[in-house]
Symmetry: C2
Subunit: 219 residues, 2 copies
């Protein structure tokens, strides 16, 4: 599938560049999904779209999504309604010599499909593990496992990665030839997400050491 | 409006906490929108949702969105179809003593409405300025302004901030009382986006200084 990403103005003269951004390699898709913590789940409710940030985890070609069983979006998705799940990383602000060629460097994965409610107890437990490990590697085995009641109160959806696409923009601005002589700085201001100092829960006994599974993310 | 955010599992016992996350203050909404660079635009195409990262800028209670006139999503939105535009900031990974209480700290703005195509030439120019200044403050007056052709090839939509909500989660994990004695580290690993060293366009004359409008973002 191909979709146009309206992240930045893309006049017809830049259509070639836009198509360069479409990458179909599965490894690229996995990389973009695995590098993210939260995606945006779109679903149609009463004819209108609803887009909400949603936690996820990947197991081979299955994405697991989770949320409260009380959430209308999750209920609709569990009922087989088509969904769209998008994960975006911003890698840089692209400064051009002309206002309209300003852009963003980014990586984006877009997954379409009908989500399937995960009801099998074994798959549900597996999904909870995948979701926990995606957000906090090492936490599944280090923390208390879900009680029957907790597990029941959490909706888990599975979304197949069959219909998925990746778009990537990298590199300097795509200024028009005629603008190159303008005395205007152009280039990229790179962006990245960094992890700060761990903030212990105030209810934690003093001196509780920060485990490696947390500390190692600062590297 | 109220929506449930399926960012993390929210069993019934935490519903009180969830409702604390709903903030209606306009200043909060502006702050979340103004701090973001890209939002996720949801639109219904052929009965299915499409969610794509989209650049934006805010002018009082109007959000401007832009993209190629060739993008099917933008065309549908310009035709008055309902849209949802969501901006999310991830502030931290919340480590709990139990797997299911792991969560994210975040700020999220969700805007619903029908977008209006901006056709008036003066408003279009104003919108381009707002969009450019949102992404790259100071760039509008420092760079070449849009040509008539560029302006024509770029769709600009206006989305009213009338129907908008903000959700915020902050603070430590919400572990169950019974889990507090577990010998498991709990707390928050804060996340933030940082700006790296400016990367000049390779076509820039050597020695072109990096302007303050770019350098000041490193602070």
């Amino acid at each position: 599938m191909t979709t146009s990403t309206p992240l930045s103005p893309t006049p017809r003269s830049t259509l070639r560049r836009l198509s360069d951004r479409a990458r179909t390699d599965r490894a690229d898709l996995y990389a973009v999904l695995d590098a993210g913590l939260v995606g945006h789940l779109g679903i149609v409710l009463g004819g209108a779209p609803v887009v909400l940030p949603t936690g996820y985890g990947r197991d081979a070609d299955t994405l697991y999504l989770h949320g409260s069983t009380g959430a209308a979006t999750l209920r609709a998705a569990a009922g087989g309604a088509p969904v769209c799940f998008t994960v975006t990383h911003l890698d840089g602000i692209v400064y051009a010599r002309s206002a309209m060629h300003h852009s963003m460097n980014y990586r984006c994965a877009v997954v379409h499909g009908a989500a399937r409610p995960v009801t099998d107890p074994d798959e549900r437990l597996r999904a909870f593990a995948v979701l926990t490990e995606h957000l906090a590697p090492g936490s599944w085995s280090a923390t208390r496992q879900p009680s029957r009641k907790e597990a029941a109160a959490t909706a888990v959806l599975a979304l197949d990665l069959t219909e998925a696409s990746v778009k990537v923009r990298t590199g300097p601005p795509g200024d028009d030839e005629a603008d190159l002589a303008l005395p205007v700085w152009a280039g990229v201001l790179p962006l990245r997400t960094v992890v700060g100092e761990p903030e212990p829960c105030p209810l934690l006994p003093e001196g509780t050491p920060v485990p490696d599974r947390v500390l190692s993310r600062r590297a």
